[in-house]
Symmetry: C2
Subunit: 125 residues, 2 copies
DNA sequence: TCTCTGATTCGACGGACGTCAAGACAGGCG
DNA sequence: CGCCTGTCTTGACGTCCGTCGAATCAGAGA
């Protein structure tokens, strides 16, 4: 899914307006599923889930690769690969400032994913 | 039948009490990531995302495999395989009634995943 | 009991994924 | 300029994933 944005029906994941009602409310159309599934897939790895959390919860809203890498028993290239996956899924943004590269979360898509998974508190009681 | 908990550090995904603060609020520990990542991974396929939605949004809260299968251009065994994946991820429950098998969503884990992805409306503006 | 239908399991195949070592690129500093 | 540090890309390897056809299992009904 490296070229996920290249030829798929585009849904603007950066928009602040939610594109989709909750998954449990209306059946998710195939095009929506094709666009959002890669984002869930990107979160479907323990390392990437932790990376995402470290970035999103970092002070100032951004985290340096140099702080991320030593938190795992993995090589630099592997962490870089996971960060690229998160980037291509639209979950984070990267910016180089001098020697270091900083990653920043994209809250809009996180909100969309959360909205999709939302279930009414009493819906299943 | 959810064997997903076979050898992992157990977090009770069926509990109604949320186990985790939002991903953007506190760094997700490795054990939590190891438990929740498989659930995201299970949703990381367009077919399973649609299956999940069809089940969760079905009237009566449950859907028959016989209604699910013809909605895709896939063979029965393939759909069955995807349903098994959702089952092992703890996202759905299956029950056989006579000839047919019915699937039902597990709202508790959906709520946990949604809670994990929650970001404060103004937190990142 | 035998058969028919619905659903799952088994075995196999091609492709994608996670990981690493080695090399390339970018920017700061003598 | 040349070196050093930090990050990314490349190429490779083994494993897991999505899909199918064929076989198997579970109930219903004649």
């Amino acid at each position: 899914m490296s070229k996920q944005a290249a030829s798929l029906p585009v849904i603007d994941l950066t928009a602040d307006t939610p594109c989709c009602p909750p998954l449990a409310q209306r059946r998710v159309p195939a095009e929506t599923a094709a666009v959002l599934a890669p984002a869930f897939k990107a979160l479907g790895d323990p390392v990437r889930l932790q990376l995402m959390s470290m970035i999103a919860s970092a002070e100032g809203g951004e985290a340096c690769v140099c702080d991320l890498t030593p938190a795992f028993d993995l090589t630099g290239p592997t962490i870089s690969h996971h960060l690229k996956t998160l980037r291509e899924a639209g979950l984070v943004d990267a910016e180089r400032r001098g020697t270091w590269v900083y990653y920043r979360a994209r809250p809009a898509i996180l909100r969309q994913l959360a909205a999709l998974l939302t279930v009414e508190p009493a819906a299943a009681a």
